[in-house]
Symmetry: C2
Subunit: 246 residues, 2 copies
DNA sequence: AATTTTCATTTGTCAGACAATTAAATGTAT
DNA sequence: ATACATTTAATTGTCTGACAAATGAAAATT
């Protein structure tokens, strides 16, 4: 692990990169202890605060964890799917909000990817998945529910659907696509009628999954995608009209 | 923005979280300048190195950028898809390698998600996408190519396919799934015959895209997924046998 | 042998300093 | 007055040295 002594003004980034590369190449393995901060600062010929900044960078990516005390130090972290979910969701959410991604583009992505789960989910869904989906659908049919709670339940429903595919890699990749939609969905006002329609589709999807009918799940998801898009468009149009009449 | 003064021993993480929350809630907007490190250390009642550690954490997630000089400081960064790709790929790759995700599970995820792009890509592919895919397929047919270069070209081919769907959110989400497969693919030895078969499928997929035949693309991807899986299995079996005969 | 105490190691935090960079303010000459 | 050079102030980048807090291991005590 070496850093370029010629280019200054980014030492902690260079050190972080060197260690990150070592982890990714397998030179440092899971649970292996890094040298202490004092040793690292000697090796890289920089001060301890600089080393610490580098370690914090790696910690922010969950690549290492630190522990105080005599046998403490920085250890290569086993990156778990649960750890990665959070970062994935944060990044996806910010990407959508900062790049003015339209509702329709985000919606298209979400449902396209979700439909990819349909055949697998129809094959592998367990009673647990069905129970979660049915419970969320029932919650969504409660009259007093706020729009925000409705959206949160919608996300929980769809995550159960994705998890039903029984592939952790798919679950991870789609966590971002599903969760990042929530802020966009929150901009929609759901009328009683539109909720009824959505809950109906949710129930039908659960039925189709129970019957192991992947084709039907796919069609229902397609219908749900279309309906969601229409709903968003009508809300946007109404707002546009209201703005112009001001 | 407040931090809990009672719980010590994670001040920089708490400060990073406070600022991150402010960005995600919209309290800090893109390109807005944060207070200087000196001001932040006063506000949070911590030392400047602690503030700096917090800022480095945020920098590692591309949430802020810093600039030196009189009008410098830390600014809320507009998170771009290109910035997010790198992190996404790093995280996905490590997730697969550290959690002993089998080739078949990763492969299933990749092709399931990729097939979700088929109808969109068939509809929207441009001449550029087709040209890239054909160029990579041609490169893959060169006899002298190393296995690693073959895999790299395979990744480039599939990224072009994904990009052809014309949805940046999909491209982002799938970057991880596609790129993270590369280390796993690199474990496979591609014979001349298997390369021929793969290149043939790649060419046929390009043809189907050109003809706007989404159904055909889907079927070809399915065939490619199955073939890749068989190939990996035969390699694994051969290694297993060789190991037992030692 | 079990328990308590001491100790060494390591991370977490702080204070203060100087270097490097950068843009604005100031001064100077044409 | 304008163009150019100089100074200045603000800010991040880095270093040094120090102490606090946590923690496991070793030593001492019962």
């Amino acid at each position: 692990m070496k850093i370029d002594p010629k280019s200054p003004s980014d030492l902690s980034a260079q050190i972080a990169k060197a260690i990150r590369d070592a982890i990714m190449s397998g030179a440092l393995i899971v649970d292996e202890r890094l040298p202490s901060e004092a040793e690292l600062s000697e090796q890289f010929n920089v001060s301890r605060p600089t080393v610490r900044e580098a370690l914090k960078r790696l910690g922010a990516q969950s690549l290492i964890r630190t522990q105080r005390g005599a046998t403490g130090g920085a250890f290569v972290n086993r990156l778990r799917f649960e750890d990665a979910y959070g970062q994935q969701i944060t990044t996806s959410t910010l990407l959508l909000s900062m790049n003015e991604v339209s509702f329709s583009v985000a919606c298209e992505a979400r449902y396209a990817l979700e439909r990819a789960c349909a055949p697998l989910a129809a094959e592998r869904r367990t009673a647990d998945h069905l129970a979660t989906m049915r419970a969320e659908a029932h919650r969504q049919s409660q009259p007093g529910l706020t729009d925000e709670a409705f959206c949160a339940s919608d996300v929980a429903y769809h995550r159960a659907l994705v998890d039903a595919a029984g592939n952790p890699v798919i679950s991870y990749q789609l966590a971002g696509a599903v969760e990042a939609m929530q802020p966009l969905m929150n901009m929609i006002t759901f009328t009683a009628r539109s909720r009824e329609r959505i809950v109906d589709l949710h129930s039908q999807i659960a039925d189709a999954l129970e019957a192991h009918d992947g084709q039907m799940v796919d069609e229902l998801l397609s219908a749900l995608a279309q309906y969601t898009n229409e709903l968003a468009r009508s809300v946007m149009d109404a707002r546009q009209a209201a703005r112009q009449s001001d």
